[in-house]
């Protein structure tokens, strides 16, 4: 799954650690999501979408 998490985080000027803190996950989890090594659960994906005030499909896209 591709995602826009890194671009959205950098646009806010947050570090991975700061984003991790707001999502109540580890920095490793944020890094793994951003690099595409780990697809978040649906509840975490919704938390990410809510935090960035975007619909979930604007952040996560299936690989073509």
């Amino acid at each position: 799954m591709n995602n826009q998490v890194r671009a959205l985080r950098e646009a806010k000027g947050w570090s991975q650690g700061e984003l991790a803190e707001q999502l109540a996950v580890s920095r490793q989890t944020v890094n793994a999501i951003e690099t595409g090594k780990y697809d978040p659960s649906l509840p975490l994906a919704f938390r990410i979408a809510r935090l960035f005030r975007k619909p979930i499909e604007a952040i996560f896209h299936p690989e073509e």
């Binding site: 996950v25 580890s26 920095r27 490793q28 989890t29 793994a32 090594k37 780990y38 978040p40 659960s41």
Partner: protein, 132 residues
């Protein structure tokens, strides 16, 4: 990376309980070694020999709670490590058991726990490395 790996999901309470359980574990082994041979009844010898088991069960409960409190990626890592360790540990233990049965290599059953723990730790490092 290793600090992040070993400290993930831990709290000061976790480390205090770990230290307490490790003290109990080492103390029970020392007591079993010092006083165990002096016991004459089977029940007393069994109690001395099994004294390290409760602290180990305490470690299991402590780890279980730490994993339940961890975030979802850490839980995924633990799950992958556990299944990998099981898949690798069973053939290793089977091979050791067969060698022992054939009289080629005498293997003590007590080695099964350290072998499984060692394989699990290696599998954890591997799973952690995959998502680094």
């Amino acid at each position: 990376m290793l600090r992040e790996y070993f400290c993930a999901g831990t709290t000061p309470r976790y480390w205090r309980l770990s230290a307490l359980l490790m003290t109990l574990y080492l103390g029970s082994i020392a007591l079993a070694l010092v006083f165990g041979p002096g016991f004459t009844t089977p029940w007393a010898r069994a109690a001395a020999a099994l004294a390290p088991v409760p602290p180990v069960l305490g470690f299991v409960v402590l780890e279980f709670r730490r994993i339940r409190a961890a975030d979802e990626l850490r839980q995924r890592i633990e799950l992958e490590a556990a299944t990998t360790a099981l898949a690798l540990g069973i053939p290793v233990l089977l091979a050791l058991g067969l060698l022992d049965g054939a009289g080629v290599l005498p293997v003590r059953m007590i080695l099964a726990s350290p072998v499984l723990i060692g394989v699990y730790l290696l599998a954890q490092l591997w799973a952690h490395w995959r998502y680094r």
